[in-house]
Symmetry: C2
Subunit: 389 residues, 2 copies
């Protein structure tokens, strides 16, 4: 097994891109990443995407994007794992390079969710849940997260207002990320007054849908001399799964898929939660942030909020969280999100983010991408290589 | 790189399965393959599927199917490459095992196309073409194949009736495959009188949509002692791509994606077209069979029909073609087709097909799965292992 690194990153601002279609967004992000890496060709491409068929009437994105990116004939497929599609694509590239089968593999996560009615996107996103046992009874993802949050408040005796710590932190960091969608602070008071979407999930608990594309170039560390780009090591990139429907889980407040993915990632990297210097969590809804922190081993069950308040999750805290805004502040272009998380973690380790959100001596960054309500989870652990030869 | 083999196969009959949904079909095929291999657990699963989101309102098939197959927590994703999704899944499994990252990986191709109006399936299938430059001007896949066939007849001076050789052969073989959808012979006269769909493509040029699922278990040859199942070696499984839209190709009658995929597969296997004992071609339409034979190196450009007539493509011919019925006779459950092709080739090499369609001393079988009109192509070369230690 070869050691693996990311030598190039690219991203489009997360926005409503009414003038760009899927291929435009994907090709721009990919070519930016290739330029950043200093590569002219790739051995393979994986495209992370969930809803191109449902919303843009376009499947077959692998062949489409290699063609439009000028990479004639290159092997390419689309990977779909709901909101985890992006990092699942990185996992495929990591495997191809680690194995020695390929030297340079591109990953682009792309999603186009706007230009359609909100209702249609919500229905399309619900295809990540169990069509026969969840969606048909009317459960959307807001509904699923509302059930989980209500249960959490009941089980662990927290007040709804205690969850403010997560979205307030995300927005505070997004202010300094030029690619984020919501670059304004919010307060705990605003959170408390925010419009209810599905009790107890309010508007400020919910990440926004958006359009976007982000890309990385994955290579073998033994070949780093070939690439002018600044490398960041991928120590591990591991997948865990769980039941699709939450009613099939013994304890719906314990994300077994997160636990499996994170424990595998820590094991392969030879690290533990205490070693992680910053964590890009999948805050599609505030409750997901809490459950992820717990199942990943950062906090005891039911203690994520206390962990956040006592240890600190802002840039100067013990565990800087969602330092570029997270899904809440950056926006959540579903199949692209996992790649954005890794791109942002790479920027942190390359010291290329705004000084207000820079985690000064960060060595290890972790990004966790979650599909559905925790059914597919991909945890990636990255290491700064500047101190190494 | 480790050598790789298939030790288990499973398949559901290709039918209109009105009583089974996606997960039923997939789990039955996968569990059959696991039983055949004698394995109780898997290290990973790839699901080949194109249209679950569009037609069954269900994405996220990886996590869904591992859960319902009783494979709690196992890594799983869906791979989408249009009609090439199934073999693209086999490619992923091949890479994971060859690299040493995983020991036993399952692949299940599944598709459910019926229970919906034909019009809707046709529109959903058109998402494999270029949404902005082909589909919006009204081109369905029948239309694209009609353009190619018309051009072929014009360029190479064949008569439409000459194409009968391919569907007549496919139906003749399907008679002896209990899992095939159309188990009846057709004649050249019936072909000539067949209802026109899109001039010059008639009904008997066109493979039928259907429901189905097929599965294989991929392992390392060095571990074969662990599995009671009869092994067949995967010598190569290689992907080539081309432009999505046919108008972007210098010569629309030359499938560059097929050429790339086949040449890579021959190179990795250390073989040439002359070595292949039977070929499972992607005969979604008769014209595709001709173009595949040519770009794969079996026949010169414009000579596929002559090759078929002079050398023979029936069971006793020089190149037995689509020995279990092909897409035309077996049926074409889109994302499952590539796995069916490999399952049928494995059955041939294990001498487990009906004696009427058995290619007696076959050593090398080749299966070629094509996405769209040749934009993603996966060629798999298999070898009988019974003569080896």
């Amino acid at each position: 097994m070869r050691k693996v690194a990311i030598v190039g990153i690219g991203q489009m601002p997360v926005r409503e891109h009414w003038n760009s279609n899927l291929r435009d967004l994907a090709v721009c992000a990919l070519r930016d990443a290739m330029d950043d890496a200093g590569v002219q060709s790739l051995d393979g491409l994986t495209v992370g995407n969930m809803l191109s068929g449902a919303l843009s009437e376009q499947e077959h994105l692998g062949a489409l994007i290699v063609d439009y990116a000028g990479l004639e004939g290159v092997e390419a497929v689309k990977i779909e794992a709901a909101c985890g599609s992006g990092a699942a694509g990185i996992r495929m590239a990591y495997k191809a390079v680690a194995s020695g089968l390929m030297d340079a593999v591109g990953v682009v996560g792309v999603e186009k969710l706007t230009e359609y009615s909100g209702k249609y996107s919500t229905a399309a996103l619900a295809t990540a849940a169990d069509a026969d046992y969840e969606t048909t009874v009317g459960l959307s993802f807001v509904g699923i997260n509302a059930l989980l949050m209500k249960r959490y408040l009941y089980e662990y005796k927290f007040d709804k207002s205690d969850f403010a710590v997560f979205p307030v932190n995300a927005h505070q960091n997004a202010v300094h990320n030029p690619n984020a969608m919501f670059r304004h602070k919010i307060t705990a008071q605003e959170y408390a007054k925010s419009k209810m979407i599905a009790d107890p999930v309010n508007l400020l608990d919910s990440s926004p849908i958006a359009d976007g594309a982000a890309a990385v170039i994955v290579v073998a560390q033994e070949n780093l001399y070939r690439y002018p780009g600044k490398p960041v090591a991928i120590l591990s990139c591991e997948v865990g799964t769980d039941t699709l429907s939450i009613d099939n889980r013994t304890n719906p407040l314990w994300l077994a898929g997160v636990e499996r993915s994170a424990m595998r990632a820590f094991k392969v990297a030879g690290l533990s939660p205490q070693d992680i210097d910053l964590f890009e969590a999948h805050d599609a809804f505030s409750i997901m942030t809490a459950l992820s922190l717990e199942a990943s081993g950062f906090a005891e069950p039911g203690q994520a909020i206390r962990f956040a308040l006592e240890n600190g999750i802002d840039i100067k805290g013990r565990l800087p969280l969602n330092t570029c805004g997270g899904l809440k502040g950056r926006g959540h272009p579903v199949g692209a999100t996992g790649v954005y998380q890794v791109v942002e973690a790479v920027k942190q380790l390359r010291r290329e983010v705004d000084e207000h959100i820079l985690v000064p001596d960060a060595r290890y960054a972790m990004a966790q991408n979650i599909g559905g309500s925790g059914a597919t989870v991909i945890t990636t652990i990255l290491e700064n290589m500047s101190g190494r030869s």
